[in-house]
Symmetry: C2
Subunit: 282 residues, 2 copies
């Protein structure tokens, strides 16, 4: 496979850094440039070895990049794509790693229309409660799913190229519309984050010493960045609220069964949950 | 330290088996006898090496045991304690590993009153979605909390001895009343299990391929045994429902903030959750 040429990664943290490491480990890029906002971030990215070089000049990096991957929080992605497109040469490709897609892709599509720079929305399902380039791993995407969200405006060659990128990093590509992506992720990621947070918030601090592995697992994602998750929830409110309603219905079913002391109904709920969970593996 | 003599473990699965391994590894028992219900369970316990010998004759094991640890599901613990007490010599000690305590301890206290056999309720907070002697580890209790639940009827020497047992296995002992235990565990364990189950149930099967680490963590305990958890919920309904109400209040706060598109309120909820979760470590 031809390499992806010069690859710029805006925001080489956990996801961006893992992409950088994966590209380097597999010889998939001529050079990987990390775009950072501070000397401190540059130092961390270099120390973790996730990119070949860093710069704080987004436009300069974009100007020489064949492919730019925007790995900043979802609220910043459209502006960063616009800045990259303004500096990039015609034919350059941009993709992102944002957790929401409908608003983001519509905004970027509108901004980049007619620019000659080609955008494909992506979402690697590999987030973690850990963050930063120190947690990055070349194999982070191996075996994971990356959703790509083409629209009517998406260039088919750019789409193929971006799919090749994720496949080359070991991921499985799932194409979906931005709307379908947001509806699905509301159920599999955004609502679970809200639920984990509510459970953490509902647990009195003086009982933390009496928690076991169950509480730890169930609340783990609540340790994620509040800023990052606020922006995800602000970006996908309707689908998240619908997913929370579906959850509350199931919770209500269990509450009723417990209140009724209904052995069979409690068992059925628990058995369904176990079957659903076991279908996935640990 | 003098050893705990002959120790009988009724139900040498994950918890019972780990206690057996821990006693053997530390030379804390003269002999560890596993009481099982089937040839298959005997074979598994022996193969995992968690006890010195097995028997299906509970009375025979109880008759020679200085200490019996009942590690069967909560619905079975009172009957097993009664059977042990009927066979044990005067002065023998019984403890258990049940996840609920109020009903269980009251029942065992009533049954054993005046028998000369001494019961102390225990709950090692070391459950897992895995089960069976194959998953047992000598260090399972190291660094974990074991709640002991003395009552007016509890013999103080037996209490000391049972506390010594858990401490010798590396655990930290927390004494609480049975009622306080059930209220606390409703919040830290029983409600989280219900929440994880409801989330698993609310996730359509065709979306399982789009789950990431967040969904996996948040639903992990839903893979636990439906029978075991049904009996826990049937045993502690009021406290569990109260804990679920507290959770629903926090969930409602987040839902309202999302519906209102209230950046600050969403952020505050997420930040509180992160602080609470970070207080515990990963």
């Amino acid at each position: 496979m031809a390499t992806f040429g010069v690859v710029a990664i805006i925001g080489p943290g956990l996801i961006g850094g893992s992409i950088g490491l994966g590209l380097k480990a597999r010889g998939l890029a001529d050079r990987v440039v990390g775009v950072v906002r501070s000397d401190r971030s540059a130092e961390r990215a270099v120390q973790a070895g996730v990119v070949d070089q860093t710069t704080q000049d987004l436009a300069a990096a974009a100007a020489e990049a064949d492919l730019t991957i925007v790995c900043t929080p979802v609220a910043d992605v459209p502006a960063h794509c616009q800045q990259v497109a303004a500096a990039a040469r015609s034919g350059a490709i941009i993709t992102d790693a944002g957790s929401t897609k409908e608003r983001l892709v519509a905004e970027v599509d509108a901004t980049l229309a007619g620019s000659g720079v080609k955008f494909v929305g992506s979402h690697p399902l590999a987030g973690d409660h850990k963050s930063g380039p120190e947690s990055a791993r070349a194999e982070l995407l191996a075996g994971r799913v990356v959703v790509v969200t083409p629209t009517d405006q998406t260039d088919s060659q750019a789409l193929s190229r971006v799919c090749e990128l994720w496949t080359a990093l070991g991921a499985r590509v799932e194409p979906m519309s931005p709307v379908d992506h947001d509806a699905a992720l509301a159920r599999t990621s955004h609502a679970p984050h809200v639920i984990a947070t509510a459970l953490a918030n509902a647990t009195p601090e003086d009982l933390l010493g009496l928690t076991g592995g169950g509480w730890r697992d169930t609340t783990r994602v609540a340790a994620g960045s509040p800023t990052l998750w606020r922006d995800i929830l602000l970006d996908n409110p309707q689908a998240t609220l619908a997913a929370l309603d579906a959850f509350s219905q199931q919770l209500g079913r269990l509450q009723q069964a417990i209140a009724d002391h209904d052995r069979d109904a409690i068992y059925r709920c628990l058995e369904e949950g176990k079957l659903r969970r076991d279908a996935l593996g640990s």
